[in-house]
């Protein structure tokens, strides 16, 4: 069973975000429990990234966002964030070790990484099947490798809330499955709640506890099977976007209501 807000939780009430006169999010309600992986899906322009940026305190908003950490209300929860992409060209001289070392020590990496920091870096990377990437340049990593390195950084130090922005973009199916398995594994080892936003409906189906269908507001919410069964899904995504080979199988499967993969 999921914890019921014992350690950490995030509650979003009546959240509205406007950019000028443009309403990007309208009256969104969302509750993310400790130990829960919530997938927010929606088409492009649905306000998914804005939702993450608002949770991170980067956008002015109306409504209420409250966090609990260690069972107590908190204004400043530790947030781990895995961005969709980096402003880093291929070949840029930033190694994986540089980036992870920047997260574990204040000692500037341009002056070199000392032995104990290098040990910490390897230790952190090994938790995310990425220790072999330590000497590679960040700009040269494949999509899946980059996601694991960024996840390692987001988890150092361990956050209360982990936010993943479109982890599926540029990642092959095998890499994505590994990534999602690692994310689910984090629930066993940490008191953490996870929100991942994506347009990749089929990819996250078996890895999230709860799915939220977002299109400026929350259109549907519940267990993945329930959301998939909801007719609103086709309404929002449009039948043309259903060109995903495994979706028919998922939809067929929806009636069975079996447990998610763990």
């Amino acid at each position: 069973m999921l914890n019921t807000c014992e350690h950490c939780c995030t509650r979003v009430e009546d959240l509205t975000v406007k950019l000028g006169s443009n309403v990007i999010l309208s009256r969104v309600n969302l509750h993310v429990n400790c130990g829960e992986v919530v997938g927010v899906v929606g088409p492009n322009g649905a306000g998914k990234t804005t939702l993450l940026r608002t949770l991170m305190g980067e956008m002015p908003y109306q409504g209420r966002i409250s966090f609990r950490v260690g069972g107590n209300p908190s204004q400043t929860p530790k947030i781990g964030y895995v961005p969709q992409k980096l402003h880093l060209e291929k070949g840029a001289p930033v190694s994986v070790a540089d980036l992870v070392a920047s997260a574990v020590t204040r000692r500037p990496v341009w002056a070199g990484i000392d032995g104990s920091t290098a040990g910490r870096v390897k230790e952190v990377l090994s938790l995310f099947s990425a220790e072999h990437l330590v000497k590679r340049k960040v700009g040269d990593l494949s999509g899946g490798e980059l996601q694991r390195v960024l996840l390692a950084i987001a988890m150092t130090p361990a956050p209360d809330l982990l936010l993943l922005d479109e982890p599926a973009s540029g990642v092959d199916a095998k890499g994505l499955a590994l990534f999602y398995r690692i994310v689910r594994g984090l629930r066993q080892t940490h008191d953490i709640s996870v929100v991942l936003v994506t347009h990749d409906l089929a990819g996250i189906y078996s890895y999230v506890d709860r799915m939220v269908l977002l299109n400026r507001g929350v259109i549907a919410e519940g267990r993945p099977q329930e959301v998939l069964a909801d007719g609103k899904l086709v309404e929002v995504f449009g039948a043309a976007l259903w060109n995903i080979s495994c979706l028919p199988a998922i939809v067929k499967d929806k009636g069975k209501g079996g447990d998610n993969a763990d």
Binding site: K85, H87, L88, P93, V94, A97, A103, R107, I113
Partner: protein
């Protein structure tokens, strides 16, 4: 005086150039300024600020013009104030719009250069200011070296304090902010330091080529470096090498020192590009 120790040290060298005071001052300035430019350059290149630093350099013209209009004897203060104002302004603008800064900087560039030239060319007087365009490191005074030393110290403090924060800020500002990095502060301090470094050395390096001195060593280092330490070390080495070689060669050729240094740096870039291409093949 410390400077006398330096002068006496150079007197022991068996080279003709090492016996002129202007060359001794110039060499000291080169040893101080080139590593400083290399450090700043690594971040300028990583953060795609090359065009911005060019605007900063050219703002010196307008700074001088404002100084002339307001009756300043030494234009250093208006130049510095304008460059700092420009840095903070551009940084604010960058944070407010998500649009590309390219066009905005292009417009700014055209405006400040035109304004500077119009004011300074009144009654055909622009010739007086051409020295600023080319620069002359041989005229550097011990007092100017003192100022450069102070700014170098400030840059080192910043580099140690904000080195890792700069990496996060440069690759993703949202990621940086999620790690409690104050990205606005990191970026603004960097651009203000950049403005100070550029303006304090504009007399030595010249408006036309100061940007090359900033960009070339870092760009060359980027071709051959696999991590931040190598990037920083190579940029400093290439910058020092170009600076010392360019200064000494310009003495024998009778050419402008700044431009000669740039030629050496450009040659380093060419070699590094070839070497880098060979390694990646």
């Amino acid at each position: 005086m410390l400077i006398d120790v330096w002068y006496n040290l150079l007197n022991t060298l068996p080279f003709e150039w090492a016996h002129y005071v202007f060359m001794k001052n110039a060499l000291l300035a080169v040893l101080l300024v080139t590593p400083l430019f290399a450090l700043m350059g690594t971040m300028v290149v990583s953060n795609r600020m090359v065009f911005f630093t060019d605007v900063l350099g050219h703002s010196a013209l307008t700074g001088i013009a404002i100084g002339v209009l307001l009756g300043f004897q030494d234009p250093a203060l208006p130049m510095l104030l304008l460059a700092v104002l420009l840095s903070v302004g551009v940084n604010l603008l960058k944070n407010m719009t998500r649009a590309s800064m390219d066009t905005i900087l292009g417009v700014l560039f055209a405006f400040i250069v035109a304004l500077g030239i119009v004011v300074l060319s009144r009654r055909g007087g622009f010739a007086k200011y051409t020295g600023y365009l080319i620069g002359d490191i041989l005229t550097v005074t011990p007092a100017q070296i003192g100022w450069l030393l102070a700014i170098a110290a400030a840059v080192m403090v910043y580099w140690f304090a904000a080195g890792n924060a700069m990496i996060f800020t440069s690759i993703s500002s949202s990621l940086a902010r999620s790690r409690k990095v104050n990205t606005f502060w990191v970026e603004t301090s960097f651009t203000v330091l950049l403005a100070l470094v550029v303006i304090l050395s504009i007399r030595l390096a010249g408006i036309l080529i100061i940007n090359s001195l900033l960009v070339l060593p870092a760009a060359a280092a980027r071709n051959i470096s696999r991590n931040m330490r190598a990037y920083t070390a190579w940029a400093v080495l290439i910058s020092l090498f170009s600076g010392i070689s360019g200064l000494i060669v310009s003495f024998y050729w009778g050419t402008a020192s700044g431009a000669t240094i740039v030629l050496f740096a450009a040659a380093c870039y060419a070699v590094s590009a070839l070497f880098g291409a060979g390694k990646n093949r």
